[in-house]
């Protein structure tokens, strides 16, 4: 090699250089907490709030321009009805009724999904059974099962729970199975290397490793269940005295009280948002985001 710096004709020579390192202690630790402004800009809640405010403004402007409370009540009117029904306890009662049914159905659905996936991961035959069942029942809308549920269980909570289980079970089981299958071979081997087997292997390796997928299943299952429940209440809410939110909406429609219909829908949306962006967000932030398994 040539010791002198190479120089092309017509170009200034490029000198070599060495410098002392600049001070890097100003950066502080390897990890540094972000400042308040950095957090605010990054904060999903703040971003979502901005979107919500925009939607509300558009709604209010459109309703005022239309000026027909029977077809499209304004945001102000809806909120007034909403807060009135919250204050007199009607809406809260209805919501609690719905959520209680939902919780029972969701929990039972999860238990069944856990049992099914355990059977499925234990053997290839089990896997075939689960994938066939899922392929059969997943596309079947839960509402389509409602007539059958009414024949089997009659009017009331058991029928609702039945259709909720149906909507939760397949989504969660399918996602969990996909998640288990996607666990990298090396991670599996390093789990088995320390002698993990059976339930401990599933609990300590497979479930955390498949958690992004499992969580996705839980979210889809929740959305299906909530939708199904409200729809089912609308269908046979008529004959049920202590109805849920679906019944609240149904009643209001019979009275042509559109503002109350809107306020019921608002409650449905609100609960959906809270579960999705508060509860599930919090779980995500503490698990898959923290572990870098999902962005």
């Amino acid at each position: 090699m040539n010791a002198e710096p190479s120089q092309k004709p017509g170009q200034a020579p490029r000198p070599e250089f060495e410098v002392d390192l600049i001070e890097a202690t100003a950066i502080g630790d390897v990890e540094r907490p972000l400042t308040i402004t950095e957090r605010l800009v990054n904060n999903e809640a703040v971003q979502r709030l901005t979107i919500l405010v925009t939607i509300v403004v558009i709604w209010e402007l459109y309703a005022r321009w239309l000026n027909n409370g029977l077809l499209f009540p304004s945001f102000g009117e809806t909120i007034r009805t909403f807060s009135k029904d919250i204050a007199n306890g009607v809406l809260i009662d209805r919501t609690i009724t719905s959520l209680r049914t939902l919780a029972i159905g969701y929990a039972l659905g999860l238990v069944l999904a856990a049992v099914l996936t355990t059977v499925a991961v234990a053997s290839t035959a089990g896997t075939r059974v689960l994938s066939t069942l899922t392929a059969m029942f997943n596309p079947l809308p839960a509402i389509a099962l409602l007539p059958l549920a009414l024949i089997w269980f009659g009017l009331g909570t058991p029928s609702l729970v039945f259709v909720i289980i149906h909507s939760v079970l397949w989504a969660v089981a399918l996602n969990t199975l996909i998640g288990f299958r996607g666990v990298p071979e090396t991670l599996r081997m390093s789990g088995r290397n320390v002698g993990l087997k059976g339930a401990r292997y599933v609990g300590l390796i497979l479930i955390p490793a498949a958690f992004p997928s499992i969580l996705a299943g839980l979210k889809i299952g929740w959305a299906f269940a909530w939708r199904t429940l409200v729809a089912a209440e609308l269908v046979f809410g008529v004959s049920s005295r202590s109805g849920g939110i679906g019944w609240y909406i149904f009643e209001a429609r019979n009275d042509l009280d559109t503002a109350t219909v809107f306020s019921g829908l608002l409650a449905v949306i609100f609960i959906g948002l809270v579960v999705e962006s508060v509860i599930f967000r919090a779980i995500e932030a503490r698990t898959v985001n923290l572990w870098g398994m999902q962005r």
Binding site: L187, N193, L204, I205, F211, G292
Partner: protein, 272 residues
């Protein structure tokens, strides 16, 4: 003196006899290694050396208990290997062997917790000590996704070391490191060995690394892996890199691996 087969059987910790390992895929049957023999003795630094794809990883998986041999036997302490176990801790070639949901410290602690080999306090002390040894104390409470490839490898090494297994299986553990860190880690491994005299089965495709790390070197042929030679490399380390013995051994291994056409090569071509 050099041939393991002439030593008394009792001193062999790991005995691999006529082992053929195959992968069954839906479309192919791949024979990775063919009738391999070797034995590893207590406190050996036993290196398996061979070109890429010759079945080095597969041999380690066999010893680890992840792949039953289709022919032959693998015995540790005289008993046949049936399943994976913490007496044979493996450092895998891939980076995704760490649990992403655990911090560096928790990853190192995990095998000790699961196997209950050490009490809670001792396990914690051991974990911290070994993390210090691989130079990651600053990153103790960080999750693996925030580490570089080489750092992940060091965590995996620390995790395996902390458990003090009967035999340590290491699959190209230093391949992802920069030259300087690699040298440090090699020295660290050797000085740890000086203290603890553990048994290690070490896979590499670098002739230099094989000579520096190994006390014995098993040279495998290209795919399908068959034993080509077993050589003695005792007493050669970083300080002997410039010495003539080092050069001679390097050349000898080079010839064994890539050198003149030997009778088996023709046979292999027929088989293919």
């Amino acid at each position: 003196m050099a041939d393991a087969r002439h030593r008394p059987m009792t001193s062999a910790l790991l005995e691999v006899k006529g082992v053929t390992l195959q992968y069954k895929t839906p479309r192919h049957l791949v024979t990775a290694t063919y009738q391999i023999d070797f034995s590893v003795h207590q406190s050996d630094r036993y290196v398996i050396l061979g070109p890429s794809g010759c079945g080095k990883t597969t041999v380690l998986k066999g010893v680890g208990g992840f792949m039953p041999p289709v022919e032959g036997s693998i015995r540790i302490n005289g008993r046949a290997i049936e399943s994976p176990g913490p007496d044979r801790m493996m450092v895998f070639q891939e980076f995704e062997q760490l649990m992403p949901w655990k911090t560096v410290y928790q990853n190192v602690l995990f095998p000790m917790k699961v196997t209950k080999r050490f009490g809670a306090k001792e396990a914690s002390e051991r974990a911290n000590a070994v993390i210090e040894k691989v130079g990651l104390t600053k990153f103790r409470d960080i999750y693996p996704h925030m580490l570089s490839g080489g750092m992940k490898m060091r965590v995996a090494i620390a995790r395996a070391m902390a458990l003090e297994p009967d035999i340590l299986l290491m699959d190209e553990p230093f391949a992802a490191l920069d030259a300087l860190t690699r040298r440090t880690m090699q020295q660290e491994l050797l000085s740890l060995w000086d203290q603890l005299r553990f048994t290690v089965l070490f896979v590499t495709h670098s002739i230099e690394e094989a000579i520096i790390i190994g006390s014995r070197i098993l040279v495998l042929s290209p795919h399908p892996g068959r034993v080509r030679a077993e050589l003695d490399a005792e007493g050669l380390d970083h300080n002997s890199v410039g010495r003539p013995e080092f050069g001679i051994l390097t050349k000898r291994i080079h010839t064994l691996l890539f050198g003149e056409k030997h009778p088996l090569r023709a046979q292999q071509e027929i088989r293919a």
